[in-house]
Symmetry: C2
Subunit: 337 residues, 2 copies
Amino acid sequence: MESKYKEAGVDIQAGNEAVRRIIPLARMTQKEGLSGSIGGFGGVFRLGSLFKRPVLVAGADGVGTKLRIAFMMGVHHTVGIDCVAMNVNDVVVQGAAPLFFLDYIACGSLSPDVIERIVSGVARGCIESGCVLLGGETAEMPGHYPPGEYDLAGFAVGGCEEDELLEPASVRPGDVVIGLASSGLHSNGYSLARRVLLTRMSVETYVPELGSTLGEAMLTPTRIYVKTVLEARHLLRSAAHITGGGFFENIPRALPPGTGVKLERKAIQVLPIFRLIQEMGAVDEREMFHVFNMGIGMVLVAPAQHADVVVSISERHGVAASVIGDVVASDGGVELC
Amino acid sequence: MESKYKEAGVDIQAGNEAVRRIIPLARMTQKEGLSGSIGGFGGVFRLGSLFKRPVLVAGADGVGTKLRIAFMMGVHHTVGIDCVAMNVNDVVVQGAAPLFFLDYIACGSLSPDVIERIVSGVARGCIESGCVLLGGETAEMPGHYPPGEYDLAGFAVGGCEEDELLEPASVRPGDVVIGLASSGLHSNGYSLARRVLLTRMSVETYVPELGSTLGEAMLTPTRIYVKTVLEARHLLRSAAHITGGGFFENIPRALPPGTGVKLERKAIQVLPIFRLIQEMGAVDEREMFHVFNMGIGMVLVAPAQHADVVVSISERHGVAASVIGDVVASDGGVELC
């Protein structure tokens, strides 16, 4: 019997095949002490007595138009890492340890092979951030997405005790601002980056300043800062994930009213990809800092006496870190000088 | 100063305006005893001592190509309700009470007005299912979505005690299967429904059998079964949300190995919209039950002696319910006779 649903563009068998391939990837993320199970309508996570009075922190985010670089390159696992990174970084800046993650993949025509590659990256991101891949949705939406294209979003839930929450209210003038190095563009500003770079070069163009092809540089996965932030958590006042909106919109989210930060422009190691965009696109520097992370993917605020220890924790996890400025009494802005 | 980012299709001001309009909608979902706060990088939910040994149940789901009906009609709030419904129904069938919800909206060109209408439906769905709208992501992805189009997905987290989980393993032959009436197509099978119906009629066509235009019938929001399931929870063995895959793929998810269900075809009140699709599309009845809910949006499995009480709980919440079959010792299939 012919299936009318398949004629209409939805292949239930391909969907089932994708699920069959995802399950072992999700299993790889299971770990002792965190009990998650998939296969039901919802994923089940036994919080049990992990926390005395649990506070949950949840974030939702996607990968944005970085996906279009993945389409051009035919490389689909790195955006899976990005999807987890963008979410767990949002969760950990509030002081919570990522517990579980769910993904949402929507596509025009379901390829079990592409789905498997995306989810292999998702699983890798989950393992690196210590959370369980608890479930997700793979939706085949013919006519909504062109064949070969998809959207990818995710959702992370973390947990901590009340007194482990990083509270912007605790920040004081005189605290220092520590910048943790990013791996590149992360997953923000791609509409501008694509417009500037891909109208002048192709993803295959080798760019000496980047030491790689443009495509490789643009697909570099977003760095996951979970280990550093959790290990340094007791030394921190607050933290900011430099996500959409760059320095100017994200750093103030880690500050209480009446304070701002004064950053030393010279202390910020701007990565070559950002210099390339700025020069080729003739983008004003202020706008660059408003759209991109510029080389600093995460900002930690700590009392000055803890700065050295925090920096060394980050470096031990393989992420360059340095003091890039300090907190001042002001109107809440970010000053670059 | 002109913004290069805006030239590239991303309007940060429109994004901020959308957020400004979303916040009061999210506030409307706050309720006593559930403490959620938004505005940080992640939404914070204080679980505190709500449960002794909390089990969390999480689901991710989207609205599928039902969105295309919303685009055609220019009506955007009902899909917001759908998005919550699809997720909380997945969570509550496992016995968990929905605690919080996050949405993901991705669009080609951000209209604060459309976003506000979508989220007003999301907020309404959250209120009806007793959960807090804790956060979300609104992504402007020029070139990825055509102007005026978007995708919409969501994530729900519920909680319960270990012994409140509805466990398929507890189901026994002789238990009864209770069907709760759906409101229409809910959010599944739209690729087939669109292909059959919209190639023959337009969304404006008045269809006497439906008592409305085709578009109105196709946009009817997915029913939320949270209140009924939570009130009947202590009387139930398990439950199945009739979502993608219809009867044949979802009912077995509520059953242990070695059992199946025998459903009385005559006891299932097939809604007019499904008869229309079946006749116009010459779709085999078996495939209809494999793709659509056919008029039964949720199936509850209970010991026979509790059937009447469960039915009356559902009816008290305004949802028609009846025994449609029973559990038998078999190979796990769904038999329609």
